[in-house]
Structure formats: structure tokens, C-alpha cells
Point group: C2
Chain length 420, copies 2
């Protein structure tokens, strides 16, 4: 029998215990051994829980105990979780975690500490979707040319609701009523949760070590119903995407932002709280992975499947690399060198010559307009326009010039646009 | 260095050789060792090929050679391929195959012969989509409640074309002109190729050993434009699906047939030659996998990723089971006990009382009508109707009774319907 200790027995932890009991038969057949949770670490042992396992408040009773073969870390947070995982690994115990924030900051250190010990983290990205396994093993023959992921169910729920009409605030409120958004939804809606997950995927695809602070991250808070009208008219959906793009030999763009995505793409059809990742490999072409990105059971499915992997005896290195790349490490493309198509929402005075001035500012920066919609508002005019492919630096300079114009009645707003 | 012998150097074999050269750097970093093809087995060594490797006509020079560490079988067919793979395994060499027909007939014998030796076959189902890995490892904590797969690109291309108007023959011809269908497309359009793949998936999900002849397999040859009109009006797409459904504790329905699938399901949005599989697990809920199901490069992506797995040292048993299920093996639900909703296309005389008679025949078998469309044709009437959930046995008895009626002007035709 394989004995498991869980650090953090909340919704996911309880689902893990229940899944191991409910599917005991098939799990034993697949793993070759019975898997049993023998101890849980919690902050408050007096709290009523839905499962019956021995509890402790001291994590070392799990990470250092000879009674425990594998440690599952489900406590969340960064520094305390790092201590726990480090303790488990240094006591020779394989680790399974669902903690994306921990990995966003410490994955390379943890890989080093783990060495040959199994370290699995399928649940950290895309909940129950086995996307780590797909990237690390299923597509390992490929250079990954591009990944585009819907990785936050809260945001996708809000965006799907806004698409059907309604503003950001009421969509967020509805998400909170349904339990899809936390009381404080900041880390979801500002894109940071998605950025954590993107860094994990990027490490598997490119073996690149960067931090959330290093990459471009924008949230969905500033989106307005009129942006969805423009998207609808031009054949797009708006999705918060985690994007990775290989540029040249060994450079990669990593960014998180709301994106206008062509309706023809399968990824754009993923609605509500569901998650999905499109991965383009240089050999395979496009593959896509879809499923529930959160929730106790979906996450437990990934954690328990990881447990079965560990019991079977997995030999895959944590991030999928046994050796460094001979051509040298991948480098992050600086934010100002990012290339994309763009969408602008401008509130300007209703005056002759305004459009001419805007066009000439854009032209100075080499930005060419693709689509334009003008909407009359009370006291001003709304200009919605999309551009052909441009550089972020040019866009930022154009925005600065626009802001300096007297005819600007609103702070200019922009989004990025993905083309086929 | 790991030395590979390929048996069968056609389109896929050439892509494997090219991928190993082109992505040498990333493959070496991920596998930890260089992987090189050292010999190919072909029928005609004088034929011009796109790759430069030593060739032989004798497979034993690969399967028995001390110069070869891993054998990749890409020759196709069943009995000759079985001999080759058996020879490789009995000489202690791990095997990788893309051969779905071989596995449809011999997967359990091969698993036994392989024992602890790695035996990978990701390319055999869904081309470049890592669906075997998802099922065998990523979702291993789950009882699989249902799988629905679009697993044949030729059929999906033809069905997508018919949906846009046009009959079966002209859609098939166009598929042949574009190289999506073989000169003899029988095994694709009659559903047998899809059945082979379903049996492989079912073995991983349920550890069930059945043969293609044991399960219900129907092709797409009898579909008519009017079926697509009905589907369109009622909110369905028509897809050739491989379906597996868990029934009760340890019984499973396995079937392949053209299916009316609600347009709201993501699977229904997979068009053209692409493949996709929806998998519902009892813990995770629905996940879906999408990508190119055929083609040299997509298949090579799976083969080379399998090679990397073998070099890393995979310990996963071939079909994912280390032990038998304590609750006993899964059993196939007999075809007559299959349950589904149905669609009928009936050509009947334009005469008072006909519809009443049809309704009463269906009612006798406990079949209740859900939707009905009547279309006037020259000299007869077309009745298109769908039913609520019924048993196959009742449907077959109703069909027999209908066939005996004088007012029937055409052989009755039916399809199965998937509901949410």
C-alpha cells in the first residue's frame, strides 16, 4: 500500500480523499497498489470536514514521517508551501502539488531539489485537463510555435456573460453569486492567476525561467460593452488569453491579456467557466485541450492521476528536460518588441479633422487601420478601430501622442487582436 | 545514442526520420540522449525516398539486430506486422507502432509478450493528438463514463462537405481529389477504421478485450442530403462517432455509426479532416482533445514523442493496467440492448392513414416520436422523424414491421441521435 499525506485539506483535499475511496478498485488496478491517505495537515483541526482522516497542525508530521510515502501539497500560497514541499523532497518523498503560485515563483529551484524524485503538478494548470502531460510527453517531439490558453474560468464566465449583454460589474456580481468568483476576485480578473499558469506551461514548452513580473499581464476590468459590439460586428470573441509565441530560433513572447480572437477558431467557442488550450507544434500542427479548469473534483482528478503516475514509477523529469538545449536557453522577447494586431477604443470630440489627425498619428508610427466603426455618443464620438500587424513600441508611442491631443475626451483604451 | 530501426519507410517513416533530424536539439534535451534511425525495412529498396538511411528487405535485420535499440513498426496490415512486432519484443526491444489494425486484433497478446518492455502506440488513434496518454495517464483516476470520438478524417471531411450541400458521391470524389480519401475508401467510409481505434481506446478505458466483429459498426455510405436538412432544422450535426458508454457497474456499449449530435456540443464543431475525442470521467467531468488525425507529420509527432518516452524510461503498462479489476472484467453490452434516441427516414405512399399506422407500429414497440417533418416527393412522401430514448431491439422490431407494410415505397433508413 502507498501512504499519502495531504497538506491542506480543503475542497480539493476532501475530493482527493473521496476519489481514492470511491474509485479504489480501478485505481488499484491501474496503479498496481492501493493508495490511501493516512494523514492531513490543517490549520484548524476542530473544523468539521467531509472526510475522516487523522489530522495534525504540524506539516513535519507528514513531510518527515516514515508513515508517509508521498506528499500532496494543496495549501496554496507561496513561501509557506515552498517550505513544506522542500521539506518533503529533502526527506526523499515524491511531491504532488496543485499550487500554481508556488510553481510560478519556485519551479526551477524545486526541480533542482527534486532531482530524480517524482514531482507532479498536473492540477496546477487547467484543472482536470491533462495539459502538462500533453506538452511534456505527448508533444515532446515538437518545437512549440504557439500556445493560446483560456486558463481562468472566472474571467471566461464574465466575458461570456458580457458577450450576451451587460457590463463588467453586473457580470462579476453574477459570477460571485454563482460561486465562480471569489469575494476578492483581484488575482483572477487582473490576469495574474493566468500568468502563473502561463509560466508553468512555458517552462515545459521552452524550459524558460521567468517570473510573473517579467511578462506583460493585463486584466479584463476595463472592458466595456461597446468592445463586445465591435468584436461581434467584426467576427471576433473577446477572451482573456495566455499567449506564448516562439519568435525565431530561441526567443519567445509571453503575455496575458484580453484578446479579440476570430470566431472561426475552436478556442473562441469555449464558453462559461470552462478552460481550453490550443497548442501549435512545428511537427504536429494545432492540437487543442478542453475541460473544467477548476472545482474540487476536476482538480482531484488530476491530483489522483498524478498519484497513480508516481506509484507506477514515473521517470519523466519535472519540466520535461534531461539536458540543457545545445542551441542555448530561450530568451523572453522584451514587451516593447511584441508584435500583434491591435484594437483601439477612442472617445473624441465631434469635430472636423479629428479622424484625419488620428490617422496621421497612427501613420507616423507605421500603424495601418484595418477596420473602423464610428459611434455617436452624447457630447462626443466613439471611434473603434483595428489595425494590421504592429509593434508594441509603436502602439505605445501612438497612444502617447493621442493622449496629448485636445480632442481626446476619454483615456484611450486598446486590446490586442489575434489573426489566423 | 539510441538506435532506431523502422519497419515500413513510407510517408510516416520519412517524417519520423526528418523530425529526428530537424528537431535534434530539443529532442536530445528532452530525451537526454540522441535518437537516430540506423536502419529501415522496405519491400522495394530501389524506390526513391526522401530520406537517406540504410535499407534492407529483411525485417529480422532490424528486430534481431544488436545494432538496434528500439523498433518502430509503420508497415500497416495485421498478420505480417504481428510477426515483426513479436520478433522485436522477443528480442528484448521496446516497440512503437502506429498500426491500429494490428492493435484492434492483437493488443492483449502483444501486451502479454511485451511484459515489462515499453510498448507505445500513441499514433494509432487520433494521429498527433495525445489521446492515449490522456486516457491512460492523465485521467487514470476516473471511471470513464463516456467517450465520443471523431476518429476518421476522411469521413469527417465528407460529412462536413455534405452539410454544406451536395450528395455523398460528389463529396467522396472531392475528398479523393484532395488526397483526403484513398482510391478504395471502403475501410474509412464503412466505419471499420474508426472501430479499430475505438477498441484501442476502450481497452485503455475499460481493459476490455473485444474484436471489431463483436461491436456495432455502421458507415456513412447511405446518408442522403435530406438527412442533413433534418439535422439542420432540428439543431444537429451529423458525425461518424466512435461511442463508448459505461452502463452500470461493469458493462460497456461500444459502437460506431453516423450520429446526430446537438450543435451545442463542442465535438460537433470539429470540421473537415480534423479529429476530436470527448471523454467524460466520473471525477473530472468532460474533457475534449482535438487535432490532426492523419498525415505524415502529425503521425510522426506522436511516434517521435513515444520514442522520447521510451528513452526517458517509461514504466506505464501498455494498456495502463498493472492488475486485474477486483470487481471483475468489463463486459460488452449486446447490440440489441443498446439504448439511444433514433432518427428515421421513411419513404411512404401519399395515402390517408399511413402516418396513423406508422405511429401505432412505433407505439407497439414503446417508441415515442419527438420531432417529425413530412416532405412531399414525386409519387411518394418522405417522413423524417426522431424518437425519444429507445432500445435497439425495439427499433429493429419496428423496422421489420414497417418493411412489411405495403405503403412503404423505400427501404427504411435510420440513424442514432445523441442527446445532452
Amino acid at each position: 500500500m502507498v501512504k499519502v499525506g495531504i497538506v491542506g485539506v480543503g475542497t480539493v483535499g476532501e475530493s482527493v480523499v473521496k476519489t481514492l475511496l470511491k474509485n479504489r478498485d480501478i485505481i488499484k488496478a491501474r496503479a498496481g497498489k492501493e493508495i490511501k491517505v493516512v494523514k492531513g495537515v490543517v490549520r484548524d483541526p476542530s473544523k468539521k470536514r467531509g472526510v475522516d482522516i487523522p489530522l495534525t497542525t504540524d506539516y513535519r508530521q507528514v513531510t518527515e514521517s516514515e508513515e508517509v510515502d508521498v506528499v500532496v501539497e494543496l495549501m496554496g500560497g507561496v513561501e509557506e508551501a515552498y517550505k513544506v514541499v522542500k521539506s518533503a523532497l529533502s526527506h526523499g518523498k515524491p511531491v504532488i502539488t496543485a499550487n500554481k503560485a508556488l510553481l510560478a515563483y519556485h519551479r526551477f529551484e524545486l526541480q533542482q531539489i527534486a532531482g530524480e524524485l517524482p514531482f507532479q503538478y498536473e492540477a496546477s494548470v487547467g484543472g482536470g485537463i491533462p495539459i502538462i502531460k500533453a506538452l511534456r510527453e505527448g508533444l515532446s517531439a515538437n518545437h512549440i510555435l504557439q500556445m493560446s490558453g483560456i486558463l481562468n474560468g472566472t474571467c471566461n464566465y464574465i466575458l461570456t456573460a458580457m458577450e450576451q449583454g451587460g457590463d463588467y460589474q453586473s457580470a462579476l456580481q453574477r459570477a460571485q453569486e454563482l460561486g465562480y468568483a471569489e469575494a476578492d476576485p483581484t488575482l483572477d480578473v487582473n490576469g495574474m492567476d493566468t500568468a502563473h499558469k502561463l509560466l508553468i506551461l512555458a517552462s515545459v514548452a521552452y524550459n524558460i525561467d521567468v517570473r510573473p513580473e517579467d511578462i506583460l499581464v493585463e486584466g479584463i476590468e476595463e472592458l466595456s460593452p461597446v468592445d463586445f459590439e465591435f468584436a461581434q460586428e467584426m467576427g471576433y470573441k473577446i477572451k482573456l488569453l495566455a499567449i506564448a509565441k516562439k519568435r525565431g530560433e530561441n526567443r519567445v513572447e509571453l503575455r496575458v491579456h484580453p484578446t479579440l480572437l476570430p470566431k472561426t477558431q475552436l478556442l473562441s467557442k469555449i464558453e462559461g467557466v470552462m478552460n481550453g488550450v490550443s497548442v501549435i507544434g512545428d511537427v504536429v500542427g494545432e492540437t487543442l485541450y478542453y475541460g473544467p479548469g477548476a472545482g474540487g473534483d476536476a482538480t482531484a482528478s488530476a491530483v489522483v492521476s498524478d498519484l497513480i503516475e508516481v506509484v507506477r514509477g514515473s521517470n519523466t523529469p519535472m519540466l520535461g528536460y534531461k539536458k540543457p538545449l545545445e542551441m542555448g536557453d530561450f530568451q523572453l522577447v522584451p514587451q516593447m518588441e511584441i508584435e500583434s494586431c491591435y484594437y483601439f477604443r477612442l472617445g473624441v470630440e465631434d469635430k472636423i479633422g479629428t479622424l484625419a489627425k488620428i490617422s496621421s498619428i497612427l501613420a507616423e508610427e507605421g500603424i495601418s487601420i484595418k477596420n473602423l466603426i464610428q459611434k455617436q455618443r452624447e457630447g462626443y464620438v466613439k471611434l473603434l478601430l483595428s489595425t494590421h500587424r504592429s509593434k508594441e513600441a509603436n502602439i505605445q508611442r501612438a497612444l502617447e501622442k493621442l493622449r496629448a491631443q485636445k480632442f481626446m475626451k476619454r483615456e484611450p483604451f486598446f486590446l490586442r487582436v489575434e489573426e489566423k
